[in-house]
Structure formats: C-alpha cells, structure tokens
C-alpha cells in the first residue's frame, strides 16, 4: 500500500515536471523552431505516457484512491479522476504526434510558443482532474481556460480567429465566475441558497460542457484553433464539465438533477445536430456534433439519475454507465475526426465544405478513416458509439417499463429524440464525408496534391484502433470499471445503493459479437463479389448523366444542397439567412445564392444581452461629461444626500411624527438606511 502511494506521488510529480519544463524549455528555444518542435513534442508524449501509467490503474481500480499534497496544494487520483484523465492523456499523445505534421506548413516558425501553451494546457487539464478541494479546481480551471485561449488564438492574424479567441476567453471566465458563486453559495449556512448554488454550478460546468444556450463559444473556438488543439478541446476538455458536475456539484436530490440533465441533454442533442446540418465549415460541423454528443451523454446521465430517484436499478446503471461510456467513445471518435479535418485543411488550405470534393483520390486512407469514424459516431452498429447509445436506449425503455407514468412519458420522448438526433447525425456526417472526400473536385486546386503525410496518419490510426479495442473490451469496461468510477461521485450516493453491473453486460457482449458478425459478413460478400468479377471485364465509364453534353464538377450536389431540405424544414437557412443574386435577362451572366446559418443561441440570447449592456454603458458615460461645474455639482449633491441620510438614520426610531429636519431636504432614494 505504501509503495503504491509513494509511486503514485512520484509519477504525478514526474508528469508535472515533464510537461512544465518541456513547455518552459521549448519557450526559451523559440529562436530555433526545429529544436523547440522536437523538445515540446517529446515532453508532451512522455508526459502523456507517464500520465497513462498513473491514470489507468486508478481508473481500473487496481490501485486504491490516492490523496496527497504537492507544492502545498492537495491533489487526489481516484477512479473517477483516472477515468476522465485517460481521454486527456490519449488525445494529448495523438495530438502531439499530429501537431508534428500539422505545423510543418503554416505555423512552422512559432513552434516554441505553440508547444509552450500545448504542454501547459495538458498540464492544466490533468490538474483539473486531480484537484481535491475547490481552491485547486478554480486555480486549474482558470489556468486551463487561459492556456487553451492562447492556443485557440495561435493564428491570430485573421480577424475571425481573434473574435473566436475573445468569445472563448469570456466564456471560460464566465464559467469560472459561476463556479466561484457556486462554492460561495454552497458555503452559505442558510439552506435558502442551496438551490441557487446548484444552478450556478450547472451553469459554470455547463458553460464548459456545451449546454444548449451556453454553447455559443464552441462553434467559434474549434474552427479557429489548430486541428490538434480542437481535437483535445472537443474530446477531452468538454468531458471536464461533466467531471465537475459529478464531483463538485453541491448535494442535490437525484430526481431534480435527473429532470434537469434530461431536459438539457435532449435540447442540447437536437439543437446541436440540427445546427450541424446547416454548417458550411467542416470544423464548425464537427463542433456542433460535439454539442450533440454531449447532449446525448447528459441524456444518459439524466435517465440514470431519474432511475436513482425511482430506485430502478436497471435504469440507473444503464443510464449513468451509458452516459460515461458515450463520453469515452465520443472522445476517441471526435478526436480522430478533428485530426482528419486538420489533414484536409493541410491539403486544401480551406475548411469550406462546398469548395472541396474528390479528396478521396489524394488522401485514400484518410477518406476511409473519415467515413468509418463518421459512421461510428452517428451510432451505426460496428462502431463503439452504438454500444453507449444502446445502453441509453435501454435506460430509456426501462423507464418506459417502470410503473410511473411521468417517467414513461419522459423516457419515450427521450428515446424518440435520441433516435431523431441519430438519424440527423447520419445525415450530417454523410454530408461531411461525401462533400469533402467523394465525387469530383469542385474547384481545381492550384497546387499539385502532395502525398498523404505519414506523420499525421499515425495518430489517427492509433485512435481508430483504440475505438475498435473499446468495442472488444466494452463488456469488461462495463463490469469492473464503470461501477467503481460511479461510486466515487458524491451525487450517486457513494455505495449506499448497490450499483451492480449485470443489467447491461449481456446486451454489450451480444452487440460485440454481432459487430464482428457484420465485419465477417462484409468480408465474405466482398470475397464473393471479387470471385464473381475476376473472370469478367471491369472497365470504367463516366457517371450516368442522362446524356447531358457538358457535365462539369460544379453540377455535383454540394454539402449545403445535400442538407437543404432538412435545414429548410427546421427554419435554419430561410428568411434573412439567404441572400440571392437573381438571374436577369435572357443570357444571365451570374447568379448566386449565399446562405449563412447563424446560431440561434447567439441571435436570441447573447447579442441582445451585449446590446443592452452597451446601452447602459452609454448612459453611464454621461457622468463623465467633461464640464468642471457639473463635477462640482455632482460632489455637492452626493454630499447633501449623505448628510440627509446621516441625520435621518440618527433620528431615534420613536421620533416625533414631524421630524425637526428641514422639510425641503427629501430623503434621497438610494440612501435608504441599509442596516447590514
């Protein structure tokens, strides 16, 4: 026991040491980008490996929970912390590898700054997971916000990157403010403030996890950040919001929390995926799909907490387990997709889907990986996201079978909503993979297509293999990791209620077998087709174009066109979002349709709020008018007000009905006697 405690402390110190000094060293060797690159990358990868050695045993409960003090602050590594550290470490490893290839072109000279902030962001995220008390959490939370802001603002020459970085910084700070409020109100003795404390906690952590209205920074920050950074942010950083809720949320009744998370999850999932449909930028589409998947995870957790409140063991286990499993699956798949988006950006120089097309011929391996991961992420069977979604469906339908009618109604709506979001997700990812990789290249790219960069493929393959492995080990993961992880969270009642895992494991192993069955069947049919065609002549012709004389690549269905029926149906791209250059005359020169899909969260909530603050600010500017006489007058009025208040408050309470004070000096309204 002592050995493991000591080794855990040494490992933790080693990880911090590696990341911190790697960062500082690469900062100081900014002048020589090559050295800074290898220094930063190696320290990041070593740090992540050491971290995995630290986090995996903790998550798998081979080692008991550790609690120790380092640099005067208290840290603890237990199952829950370990479970949420793993995505951070694995994604960190993959992103570090990918950055080596990604930064060759445009970010080459500023490797030193990149690796400095990259390592410190990883460090901050690990500290958030390992924080024991709220002081360390706030410290690490804000540090993570600032360091990842610097990464988002890495290519700050463009205007939209600066705007995105600014929005992101404000969102992180607002989150920290809500957290401070939560800890303050939770510490408040009288019980009246417990409700507001929970609300502030949900708002603070929800800002990081992408709640429906609080999600506006996510689609701004991810396209602006370099691909490896947006991979880490969407895969690992969003989970920390949920980690915060599970560990630091003040005690609240599971029923209430269940309803809240259910509502937020459902609206987040549907809002996220509907907006993803209408996006033109590839990374914005992936960012919105992260919001959708976070919504699905919240849906699972919500159903789990409802199960807890109804003492319905099956529903609780499937819901909570399904939610956490979905976070894990989403982390792996979304990380790969963002890295692939980075590869696409490197080879075409743009992220606008309608400008790409036919990339499959240049990046064959990336194409297959993208289609496979996209299918997996939209929940289709051989993928690992299907495992967690089936668990959430089971939780929903356990709710349907349970006696309570209200739970039945909520569960069936949740199930239908999840199905709808699954279908829309399939549509969105079809659009993404088809418009980018398949068909013919829409505009002829000026530079010659350089071969696929090996460095960038490695991490993507690594993550995809991990996704496949998590299909194989899903039942093992379900039986002995998830119950231990869930016990750690104070909300789930720490062992007072048996969280046995036998409810879902039978389904998981069956689904695992059928996934292998599908792959086997595909192989058989592929072989059958191959044998059938071996003897035949196999030649190629042009696609069926109904005999049209001059087929061009621009006649293909673009991404926007692909999802136009759906986004029109959801009123996203109609009205003021669509500006058209109409066709004039018999021989029309040029006509165009320009469709922009603005985020309803921005349009309805945040822009009016900022306009309102600006209006107040304009009114208060009149105080500083510049006229000396008005300043002196202001001082005198304030003085008289204070004097009136002083004399009024010093009158004995049982004063004569008519106070002896001059009737003229009426009590100044804002100086009402405020007895603290």
């Amino acid at each position: 026991m002592l050995l493991s405690a000591l080794s855990c402390f040494i490992l933790f110190a080693a990880v911090l040491f590696l990341l911190f000094f790697g960062a500082v060293w690469s900062w100081f060797s900014r002048r020589r980008p090559e050295r800074a690159k290898w220094l930063g990358a190696l320290s990041a990868m070593l740090g992540c490996c050491a971290g995995t050695v630290l986090a995996l045993p903790a998550a798998a409960q081979w080692v008991p929970a550790q609690h120790f003090a380092f640099l005067g602050l208290h840290w603890q590594i237990d199952a829950l912390a370990g479970f949420f550290m793993l995505p951070v470490l694995l994604l960190g490893l993959a992103a570090a590898g990918h950055s080596l290839g990604y930064l060759q072109g445009h970010g080459g000279q500023r490797q030193g700054t990149y690796w400095f902030f990259f390592n410190l962001t990883l460090l901050a995220m690990l500290l958030v997971c390992a924080a024991a008390t709220y002081i360390e959490l706030l410290l690490a939370w804000e540090l993570m916000g600032v360091m990842s802001f610097a990464l988002v603002a890495f290519s700050f020459q463009e205007q939209e990157t600066r705007h995105a970085a600014w929005v992101y910084l404000l969102a992180c700070h607002a989150g920290a403010v809500f957290l401070i409020l939560m800890f303050v109100l939770a510490g408040n003795p009288n019980p009246g403030y417990a409700g507001t404390a929970v609300a502030c906690g949900l708002l603070g952590f929800g800002l990081k996890a992408g709640f429906p209205i609080l999600h506006v920074w996510l689609p701004e920050a991810h396209p602006a950040a370099p691909a490896p950074v947006s991979a880490i942010m969407s895969a690992a950083m969003l989970n920390l919001g949920i980690y915060g809720i599970l560990r630091f949320l003040p005690p609240v009744s599971p029923g209430l929390l269940g309803w809240l998370l259910l509502g937020l999850g459902l609206s987040g999932a549907l809002l996220g995926i509907v907006l993803a449909l209408a996006q033109v930028n590839l990374k914005r589409l992936l960012a919105y799909s992260s919001i959708e998947n976070m919504g699905i995870a919240f849906l699972g957790l919500g159903l789990g907490f409802l199960g807890l409140s109804q003492q319905n063991a099956a529903m609780a286990v499937c819901g909570l387990g399904g939610g956490l499993l979905h976070l894990w699956n989403h982390a792996l798949l979304k990380g790969t997709l963002f890295l692939l988006a980075g590869a696409v950006f490197k080879s075409t120089g743009t992220l606008i889907i309608d400008k790409m097309g036919g990339l499959g011929k240049d990046l064959p391996v990336s194409k297959n990986l993208f289609i496979a991961n996209a299918a997996a992420l939209s929940g289709l069977p051989p993928g690992n996201a299907f495992l967690s979604e089936i668990m959430i469906y089971l939780a929903a339908f356990q709710g349907v079978l349970s006696g309570n009618h209200v739970i039945l109604a909520a569960a069936i709506i949740a199930a239908v909503g999840l199905a709808l979001s699954g279908g829309l997700a399939a549509a969105a990812f079809c659009k993404a993979s088809a418009a980018v990789f398949l068909g013919a290249a829409r505009n002829p790219r000026n530079h010659e297509p350089h071969p696929e960069c090996r460095l960038m493929l490695g991490p993507e393959l690594f993550l995809s293999l991990l996704a496949l492995a998590s299909v194989i080990f899903a039942p093992w993961l379900w039986e002995n990791i998830l119950p231990g992880v869930l016990q750690q969270s104070p909300l789930i009642g720490g062992g007072s209620w048996p969280l046995s895992a036998e409810h879902g494991s039978q389904t998981l192993s069956a689904v695992r077998n059928f996934s292998f069955a599908i792959i086997a069947l595909i192989a058989v049919l592929g072989f059958l087709r191959h044998r059938q065609l071996r003897r035949k002549v196999l030649d190629t012709g042009c696609t069926w174009d109904c005999g049209y004389a001059l087929p061009t690549a621009r006649m293909q269905y673009t991404g926007t066109a692909f999802t136009q029926p759906l986004s029109d149906y959801f009123r996203l791209t109609l009205g003021r979002h669509r500006s058209t250059v109409p066709v004039q005359g018999y021989f029309p020169q040029e006509a165009a349709v320009h469709i922009t899909a603005s985020d309803p969260g921005d349009r309805l909530v945040w822009h009016p709020l900022s306009r309102f603050t600006a209006r107040i600010a304009d009114k208060t500017r009149r105080i500083q008018s510049g006229y000396l006489h008005l300043y002196i007058l202001m001082i005198l009025i304030a003085l008289i007000a204070m004097l009136i208040y002083a004399v009024a408050s010093s009158l004995p309470p049982a004063a004569a009905p008519e106070p002896a004070l001059p009737a003229a000096g009426q009590l100044h309204q804002n100086a009402a006697p405020l007895q603290p």
Binding site: L139, L143, F156, R162, H173, M634, S650
Partner: protein, 480 residues
Amino acid sequence: MLALLMVLLPLLFAAAAPILRKRPLALYSLLPVAGLSLCLVLAADLFCPERDLFSLYLGGTPILAADAISRFFLQLTAGLFLAVSVHAFFWLPATREHSSHRVPGTRTMHRYLFVLFLLAFVSMMNLSILSAHFGLLWVAVEATTLASAPLILYHCSEGSLEAMWKYLLLCSIGIGLALFGILLLAFAGKISSCPPASLGFADLSAPGVSFHPVWFKIGFVFCLAGFGTKMGLVPFHSWLPDAHSEAPAPVSALLSGALLNCCLLAVMRTLRLAPAEVLPFCRTMLTILGLLSVLVAAFLIIRQKDFKRMLAYSSIEHLGLCALLLCYCQTALTTHVIAHSVSKMMLFLLAGNILLAYDTRSISKVTGMFSTLPRTACLWLIGLFAICGTPPSPLFVTEYLLVTSLPPLLAILLLVLLFIVFAGMATACLSMTMGTPAPGSHERQAAQAAAEQLTIVPGAAALGILILGYITTLWMKQLL
C-alpha cells in the same frame, strides 16, 4: 527619528535637483538613489524592530508615529517609488528623444523641475502616512496634491492643462471638505462627555474618549467625502481618469499605486475612531460608495477608447473593492492593496512604453503588438490577467474572500460587475496585442526598439505578482 528622515531625505534630494540642472544624467540618477535610500532607512527599521525609531514628539504630542498598518504602507510606497524611479531613469531620456508626437510648439517641463516635484511628492506621501495628528494628516494630503499637480504638466498640452486644473480644483474642494470634517470631529469630541486632549490619533483613540454621535456622523460624512475624492470613490471620482491618463507614465504609476493608498489609510484612521453605535452607519456608507464605484467603473470601462483611461477606471474599481474590503474583510485588505499597487504600477509603466512606441493613446490605433513589441505585449496580457483576478494572481484570492464575506445578493452583483470589467479590459487588451501591425508603424522602428528595452521593471513586477499569488493561495488554504 527615522520618520523625520523618511520625510526630509527626499526633500534633501529635491533641493539638490536645481543644482544638477545642467547635467541630466546625474539629475536622473537622483531618483533611484533617493528610492534606494528610503528603502535602506526602512531596512534599518526592520532589523531592530523592538526600539520604536519612528515616533517624533513635538510639545508633548507625537507628531509622527508608525503603527503596524502605516509601516506596511510605508514599505509599499518606498518599494513602488524605487521601482518607478529605476524605470524613470531609463524612460525620461527615451521620451525626450522619441516623443515627436507633441505639437512642435508645446514644450515639456524642464528636467529638474520634474525630479524636484516627484521627490517632493514622495516625501509628502511619507508625511501623510507617518503623521500622527489629524491636522498634520490633512496638511500632508493637501501637500501631495500640490506636489503632484505640476507633474501632470510634464508634456504641457491642452489635455494635460485641463486635467491639471480639474485635478487641482476638485481635490482642493475635497480636501477642504475633509478639513471641515476634521473640525466637526474635533467639535463632536469637544461637546461630548469627556473630550479628547488634542486631534492626535493617540488621544482620539484613548480609551475614555467619547464623541457626540450625531456630530460624529456628520463629521465622518465630510471626511469620507473629502478623502473619498482623493481616493476616487465614484460620486467624487471625476478628476481621476483625466489626471491619470494625461500624466506621464511614472507619475500615473505613483498616483495610482501609492497616492490612492495614502487616502485609503486616512479613511481607515477615521473609521477606526468611530464609536460603537456609529460604526454600522459608517460601514453602510462605505459599502454604498464602494459598490457604486465598482458599478460605474465597470460600465465605463466597456466603452473606453483610451487605454490609460481604462487603467484609471480600473483603479477606481479596485479602490471601490478596497472600500468594501474595509467593511467586510479587513484581513484581505493588505494583500489586495499590495497586489493592486504592484500590478497597476506595472500596467501604467507598460502603457507608457506603448505610448512611447505608438505615439497614440487610442486603443483602435494600437494593433499587432505581438509583432512590434513582443515582450511588452506578453507583459501587457499578464497584467490584464493579474489585475482582473484570474487565479494565479493574488487579487483572485482577495476577491474570493470578499465574496464569501459579502451577503449573497451583493456577492452576485459584485461578481457580475467584475466579469463586465474583465470583458471590457479583455476586449481592449486583445485588440491591442493581436492583429497585424498598422501600415504606418514601420517608420517608428527606433521608438519601438527603445520601448522594448524598458520592460525590465514591469517584468520584475510581473514576477513579483506571480510569486505573491502563489504565497497568497497557500495562505488562503490555511485560512479556509
């Protein structure tokens, strides 16, 4: 005895200034030497704390004395002055050489006058901290106004003239009200059951002394209005943005960093005298003024066009926080004061560098600092995060302690206001540091190179803040 030394030493160096009029290098070196000597004097006090070296008696009543809190303020002011003087030593020649932006007609104040008034300003601040008699406190605070007013006129432009006139007039009215307040306090003592012997703090806070409650309240209101004007609490703050933005960088650093603390000390002294039944009233007044300051400063920062005025409003906001801390959580006050002074001094010195390099004070014209002034840009962002209270900075700890001790509704309002301030300042600082440099910036190459050398003192200050932040986090762990 040491107290007299603290007051007279800068005056001595000030007297030497006109003599060295012809040799600028020796003249400029006067400042760091004076700063160093003040620190040595304080070091002497630290080494033998048991003997009370500070008190000076005149005719029985102590004139100058230093209790724990004023010793802290002394060390802070001396430290700040040392840092500013070292910066000024390099900054003054650079400004003379590169500040071509002034209209050719306007002249800058003569070097020795600037050094003279700066040293006089520091000695008067020491006097106001060390004074043990209310009347002497008033004289010293009035003297600081007189000494600092000409400093604003270093670049004698229309703006600085207007700022100086407003500064003089409004502060004098404020100080006049404070004098009337002091007389009213004395009068309240006189007509009470057992009057204090004299206006010295020792006699006033003697155990037996009592005050007539109503007249004490009126006296306190006048004192609060008077010292509040000098401190920059909102209804009385109007001179502060003009004075701090027009004054040259070292002067505005000292104005924000040191002078506002002396007035805070004066308000603390009056609050300490308040008898028990008047205390709630005084705390309510301070809370109202504090919250009003944070509120108005927050909404004024958002729409700011000038980065020095933005820093001035941030000083108003932080002094509002100090007023709140004074009422609710005295323990965190000293940390807040030292953290605010050091980071505000760093920011004002950096603002001076940016003004030197870009020759404009408008935020929209300053862009792309990362490419033209990389070191200043990094320190500028560190300053932003330090002053807005992000965790590594000590201000986060004090704001957290303040919010825990405030009633919940006020806590929520305060946190929202602090967020608005962060939003306003972040917008300005980010638009200044990022982006591509303006087309016309390449011909100011020499000025930019000069500005880059001037980042030694701000860098040291930034390091100091981070270390202080770590120490205060550990201190906070034991506290809660």
